[in-house]
Amino acid sequence: MIRRGPLAQLYPPSWPAIVTVGIVLAVIPFVSGPYVLSVLIAVGLSAIVAVGLSLFIGYAGQISLGHAGFYGIGAYTSAILALRGVDGWATILIGMAITGGVAWLVSRPTLRLEGHYLAMATLGLGMILNIIMIQWTSVTGGPSGLTGIPPLTVGSLVFDADWKLYYLIWVMALLVIWGFRNLVHSRVGRALKALAESEAAASSLGVPTARFKEMAFILSAMVASLAGSLYAFYLSFVSPSTFDAMASIEFLIMAIAGGVRSVWGAPVGAAVVTILSQAMKSVVPALFPSAGGEYSILVFGVLLVVILLFLPQGIVPGLARGVLTIRHRWTRPGDSGSAAPGGEG
């Protein structure tokens, strides 16, 4: 993940981009059907998780193989508490607090070690959380999960229709993107960037590396929990299979496919993976009549390997570089002073 050179300076687009994306997304429900809306809701939920994860991967230089577990803590906390009559918004905050605590407990001993101990620990944590969801039947409903989760409300506004949740989820997603963009450009963000380039150098300049890595991890876990809660209120149903190891890997693919050093990478990665998996659900059975949806994992595996080998910065910075290269070729040689595409966007 550690990349030097001009693209490391490629800053994500600032607030005009967020407003533009916001306006486009706001118009969509008026021109599209329920299917497109449901796909976009899935993209929005995944984007929230993937943005946090990409911040952690790209700026702390570590990976988590258990983010579906944090997503699941949010979803189950909201489901369990809302079914017992707790206010929906309060359950979101409680879920985030629990997730933050669990993430802190796991990261504290492991992030201080060199190597990928956190990756291994999150892998184990994700498995344990999933086993608890399946086995603690009296609370979690076991393999069949929990149903009938009451919707979120604000005064007399009830979030009970898809289009209402669509707006809620995307407002949250854009807020998270905006927040992370600001964080990346802040003093802390610059410190994290230095940390990802060289931990020794950052540490010698006085960056509390372990504490910042821990912070990035806890933040990304809490954001995943937020998305999980929203998921529970959207479907009004949760079950363990949504939060298994494969889901963690899918979040990882989204973050990496889009590009972990660009705030827009994660939403694009979430869109690519979600739309690809929807497309395969309709295409694969036509090509292989005996096949189930499981075949799509093969494509995701290939996608992950190919991107890391050939487009290691991810789709968004990769495309940005491609566009800039073409633009550079179109201008006369020597016309532009530098070949460096940095600072664009």
Binding site: G124, I132, L298, F300, L304
Partner: protein, 291 residues
Amino acid sequence: MSGASLLQLFFSGLTIGSIYALIAVGFVVTFSVTGILNLAQGEFAAVGALTAASLHMHGAALWVSVLAGTAAAVLLGIVMERAVIRPARRIDLLSVVIITIGVDIVFRGAALMIWGADPLTLAPFTDRPPLHLGGATLDWQTVWTVAISGVFFVALIWFFQTYQGKAVRAAVMNHTAARIVGIRPSRLSFYAFAVSAGLGGLAGTIVAPITGATYDMGLMLGLKAFVAAVIGGLNNAPAAVLGGLVVGLLEAFTAGLISSDYRDAITFIVLLLMLFVRPSGLFGRTAGKRV
């Protein structure tokens, strides 16, 4: 609980533990030689098991099927090293770990395409009635499993005393220094993948008569073996064998004495505890480097 039942649990823990041990040694061989945590390791077992089972079902002799299953895994390990790991050598190790996850998914998807979702069966290596020992039954497959992993345990200890084994240890300690004295880490990487894939494939063919062979068996086997390798210390091959037995026995006794629902959970709780308390493994000499 009677002594006989405890003995029975001990036997079943020993069996599955020996399987984990073989796969765990594969983890350790790759990790200590190349620095890569190959999370696709468990899939070699699945490919070995599925190849052997399908060949045997089509009439091949049992020993031919077992050898072919192991060979198929070796071939896959070699292809993986050449096609994916070697081109990725200039990428940072974290990305390579993620690449191995991608390869794992590809193997699993391909196995589903080739063999389908239904489990295949393989005949036990020795088709004789089980032994009776102290009131407990002992399957011949258990004897095979323990014997084969025991042979590898001894072979590993012997290997590291030989000239080649010392070359491997030198490369593990210091890549650059090893190169200066004429050891080629890139060739070692090739052999590491071939050997660890072969161990995984062999483990798969041994476990197939006990659990059956399915396209998704590699994930759990790989994860459990990984925990075994962490217990052993990730770069200590003989210790990984002991780690495998620890995991196997823990699982068997948890399932027998507490509840089979939490059999898998105990393994991952042990993983977390190990990472928190002794990240260098039970037998590690140096503590993890504090930053």
